[in-house]
C-alpha cells in the first residue's frame, strides 16, 4: 500500500491538486502584475493595459534619486552582510565550543531582535541617534546599517551555530593531534566546512537589509535607500508608476538571492552529511 493511499482518497487528491495550482497562481500573481505594469504605457496603475513601453526603465536609469538610493541600498546591504556574518561567526564559534557561563542568557540575547517589533526597535534607535549625542551617530546610512546588523544577527547565528555544533569535535582533536594550532585548525578545518553556511548567512543578512523599510523610514537623513524611497513614493499612487520598473528588477534579484541562499544551505548540510 503506497503511503499516499492511506491519507487521502483519489477525489480529495484531485481537489487538493486544483487548490494547490490556484494557490501558486495567486501567490505569484502580484509579482507578475508588477512586472507587467512596468511595461505599461500609462501614468496610472490601472486596467486596462494601454500599451507596451520601456520608457519607465530608461526614466529610472536617468533619475539620480533612484540611482543613488539603489547604490546606497547595495552599499549598506553588502556592509551589513559582511559585518553580521563575521560577528555571527565569532559568536557562534564561542557558543558552540567554549564552556562559558551564562551561555543561555547570551543565546537568548542574540535572539531578542527576532521578537522585538521592528517599529519599536526603530523608535528606540531613533531616540538613540537623535538624543544620545554619541559621536558619529546621526540619522543616516551608518545608523541604518547598525540597525540592520542588529536585525540580521539572529539569522546569521541561527544559520551558522548549528553547522558549527554539527562538526564532530574529534575533527578538531584530530587536527590538534596532527600538530595544528588553534588558528590552523580553525582556518583549515572549521572554515572550509562552514563556508556554505557563511555564504547563506551573508545572503540572508543582505536580503534583510536590502528589503528593510521600517528602520529606514525612521533612521535616514537626506540620503535614502531604495526601499525608503519606494515606501515614500508608493504611498502616493500617482507617482507609483514610475517606481515599478526598478522594483521589478529588484524582485527578480531577490528571487535569485533567496533561491541561492537556500541552495547553499542545503549544500552545506550535504557536505557535513558526507562526513558521517
Amino acid at each position: 500500500m503506497s503511503r499516499g493511499d492511506v491519507a487521502i482518497s483519489r477525489p480529495a487528491r484531485l481537489v487538493l491538486r486544483v487548490y494547490f495550482v490556484v494557490f501558486l497562481l495567486v501567490l505569484y500573481l502580484p509579482t507578475a502584475l508588477l512586472v507587467l505594469f512596468s511595461f505599461n504605457d500609462s501614468n496610472t496603475l490601472s486596467f486596462p493595459i494601454v500599451g507596451l513601453t520601456t520608457h519607465w526603465y530608461s526614466d529610472a536609469v536617468n533619475n539620480p534619486d533612484i540611482v543613488d538610493s539603489v547604490r546606497n541600498s547595495f552599499q549598506i546591504a553588502v556592509g551589513v552582510g559582511i559585518v553580521a556574518t563575521v560577528i555571527g561567526l565569532l559568536a557562534s564559534y564561542a557558543l558552540a565550543r567554549s564552556n562559558i557561563r551564562m551561555k543561555g542568557a547570551i543565546s537568548a540575547l542574540l535572539l531578542v531582535p527576532l521578537v522585538v517589533p521592528t517599529i519599536a526597535l526603530a523608535i528606540a534607535l531613533l531616540i538613540l541617534v537623535k538624543k544620545a549625542n554619541l559621536p558619529l551617530l546621526h540619522p543616516g546610512l551608518l545608523a541604518l546599517g547598525i540597525g540592520h546588523v542588529v536585525l540580521a544577527l539572529p539569522y546569521t547565528v541561527l544559520l551558522i551555530l548549528p553547522r558549527i555544533s554539527n562538526i564532530d569535535r574529534r575533527l578538531e582533536e584530530a587536527a590538534h593531534d596532527l600538530g595544528a594550532s588553534g588558528a590552523q585548525t580553525f582556518r583549515r578545518i572549521i572554515l572550509p566546512l562552514i563556508v556554505p553556511s557563511l555564504m547563506a548567512a551573508f545572503l540572508i543578512a543582505f536580503i534583510t537589509s536590502i528589503d528593510e523599510v521600517v528602520l529606514a523610514s525612521f533612521l535616514l537623513g537626506a540620503e535614502q535607500t531604495y526601499p525608503a524611497y519606494l515606501f515614500a513614493g508608493l504611498r502616493h499612487p500617482d507617482t507609483a508608476a514610475a517606481l515599478i520598473p526598478v522594483a521589478s528588477a529588484m524582485i527578480l534579484l531577490s528571487f535569485l538571492t533567496a533561491f541561492g541562499a537556500e541552495v547553499l544551505r542545503r549544500r552545506g548540510e550535504r557536505r557535513l552529511g558526507a562526513a558521517a
Partner: protein, 385 residues
C-alpha cells in the same frame, strides 16, 4: 623489541582523572614498552578511553605523570606530542581528499615539500590504498576510511599510535580481516600501538599485552594467554571468555592439589598451595570432559555429577549447562564429533577435569604456571619510576 629499555615506551605514573565528582581513572600505574601492541580492555566507563586521551593530551590528569620515552609530557598539548591517534569513527576531514588528509600532519609540521610526497605515497602503499588518493572520505567504505585514518597517523612516524576502538563501526567479517591487518602493520612498522577496545576477542587476537580495566582501576596486565588461563580476579575470569566459577572448600590437600569431597566418591580438585578455606576456582568450558574417562580414578582428577539443564547447538560444538550437586552451574563445551554420552536435557552426566586445568583466582593460586609463555609472567603492575 625494546624490552626493559630504560628510555622506551610510555609510563603511566600514579595517574588519576576526576570529572567533577566522578573518578574516571583511579591512581593507575603501568608501563607500555617500546614496540609492543598494548591493549586496554574493559567495559564502557572503565576508564580506558580516558587513559588513552590523557596519553594523547586531550585530557589532563588530575594527579600523576605521563612519561613518553623518558620525557614528562603530562602538560604538553596534543599538538606538541609525538603520538598520533586513530579516532573512533576516524574523524577524517570530510572536505579533503585522501591524499590531503594524510599529508595534513606533515604540512602542518612544515616538512619540506619534496619529502611530503614520497612519505604520503609510502603511507598509502602501506595501508594498500593506491588509486584512492583523489577520493573524499565520503566516497570510501568503512574499511577504507579506517585505513586512511591509520595512514594519516602513521605518516608522522609517531613514537606511539593510539587507537580508540578503531574497528567498532565495522561489521564482523571486515573487523576480523582488519584485526590481522593491524597486527601485521604493527609488526612491520615496529610502532608502539596502544589500543582501546571492549571486545575481548579482538584484544586476545592482536595484543602482546592486555590491561584489563574496570571502574578506573587496572585489574590485571598480562599476555593474552595468561589472562585467559590464569585470571587474577574473578572479573577478569568473567570478562575474558566464558567463565565457570565454582567455590571449592578445601577438605583435603595432597601433593599441591586441594580436594573438596562431595561423598559417593565425587570430588572437585584444583592445583593450589592453599591448604584450607574456600577458594574461587575457574575452569574453562572446553577443558571439562564428559563421562568417566580412563584416568577417572587418578589422584587430583575431578569427578562430579550433575544434571544437564540446557543444550545449545553452536555449530562446531555444543554448549551444555550442567547443574552440579553443589547447586552451581557450569558451562561445558563439547566438540560435535564425540558422541559417546547422551546429552539431552535432564540427563545425568559426570564431569571431569585434571586439577591443573582448574585455576584458582587470587591468593592461593598455583606457584608454577603450566606452559605460560611470553614475557608477561611476572606480577601485573609495573611500579612507576
Amino acid at each position: 623489541m625494546g624490552t626493559d629499555a630504560p628510555v622506551g615506551g610510555i609510563v603511566i605514573d600514579a595517574v588519576t582523572k576526576m570529572f567533577d565528582e566522578f573518578k574516571a581513572v583511579d591512581d593507575i600505574s603501568f608501563e607500555i614498552r617500546d614496540g609492543e601492541f598494548f591493549t586496554m580492555l574493559g567495559p564502557s566507563g572503565c576508564g580506558k578511553t580516558t587513559t588513552l586521551r590523557m596519553i594523547a593530551g586531550f585530557e589532563e590528569p588530575t594527579a600523576g605523570r605521563i612519561l613518553l620515552r623518558g620525557q614528562d609530557v603530562t602538560y604538553v598539548p596534543p599538538a606538541k606530542r609525538n603520538v598520533n591517534m586513530v579516532f573512533q569513527a576516524y574523524a577524517l576531514f570530510p572536505h579533503m581528499t585522501v591524499w590531503d588528509n594524510i599529508a595534513f600532519g606533515l604540512q602542518i609540521k612544515k616538512v619540506p615539500r619534496g619529502e611530503v610526497g614520497p612519505r604520503v605515497e609510502e603511507a598509502i602503499r602501506t595501508v594498500r590504498l593506491g588509486g584512492f588518493e583523489k577520493r573524499k572520505p565520503g566516497q570510501l567504505s568503512g574499511g577504507q576510511q579506517q585505513r586512511v585514518a591509520l595512514a594519516r597517523a602513521l605518516v608522522n612516524r609517531p613514537a606511539a599510535l593510539l587507537l580508540d576502538e578503531p574497528l567498532g563501526a565495522l561489521d564482523l567479517k571486515l573487523r576480523k580481516e582488519l584485526q590481522l591487518e593491524l597486527k601485521h602493520l604493527q609488526t612491520e612498522t615496529r610502532t608502539t600501538f596502544v589500543y582501546v577496545t571492549h571486545d575481548q576477542e579482538e584484544a586476545l587476537t592482536m595484543s602482546d599485552r592486555i590491561a584489563v580495566m574496570k571502574d578506573g582501576l587496572v585489574e590485571q596486565i598480562a599476555t593474552p594467554r595468561e589472562l585467559y588461563e590464569r585470571p587474577a580476579t574473578s572479573f577478569v575470569a568473567g570478562f575474558i571468555g566464558v567463565s565457570n566459577i565454582i567455590h571449592l572448600r578445601v577438605d583435603r590437600h595432597e601433593a599441591g592439589v586441594a580436594v573438596m569431597e562431595l561423598g559417593d566418591g565425587e570430588r572437585i580438585t584444583a592445583a593450589t598451595t592453599a591448604t584450607s578455606g574456600t577458594l574461587e576456582v575457574t575452569v574453562r568450558p572446553e577443558k571439562i570432559r564428559l563421562g568417566a574417562g580412563a584416568d577417572a580414578g587418578r589422584t587430583g582428577m575431578t569427578a562430579v555429577s550433575g544434571v544437564v539443564n540446557d543444550v545449545i547447538y553452536l555449530g562446531s560444538m555444543t554448549q551444555l549447562m550442567v547443574e552440579l550437586r553443589t547447586g552451581e552451574e557450569l558451562v561445558v563445551h563439547r566438540l560435535n564429533d564425540e558422541s559417546e554420552v547422551d546429552v539431552s536435557v535432564g540427563a545425568r552426566v559426570v564431569l571431569q577435569w585434571p586439577a591443573e586445568n582448574a585455576y584458582v583466582i587470587g591468593p592461593g593460586r598455583a606457584p608454577v604456571g603450566a606452559g605460560v609463555g611470553g614475557n608477561g609472567g611476572e606480577s601485573a603492575i609495573t611500579e612507576g619510576a
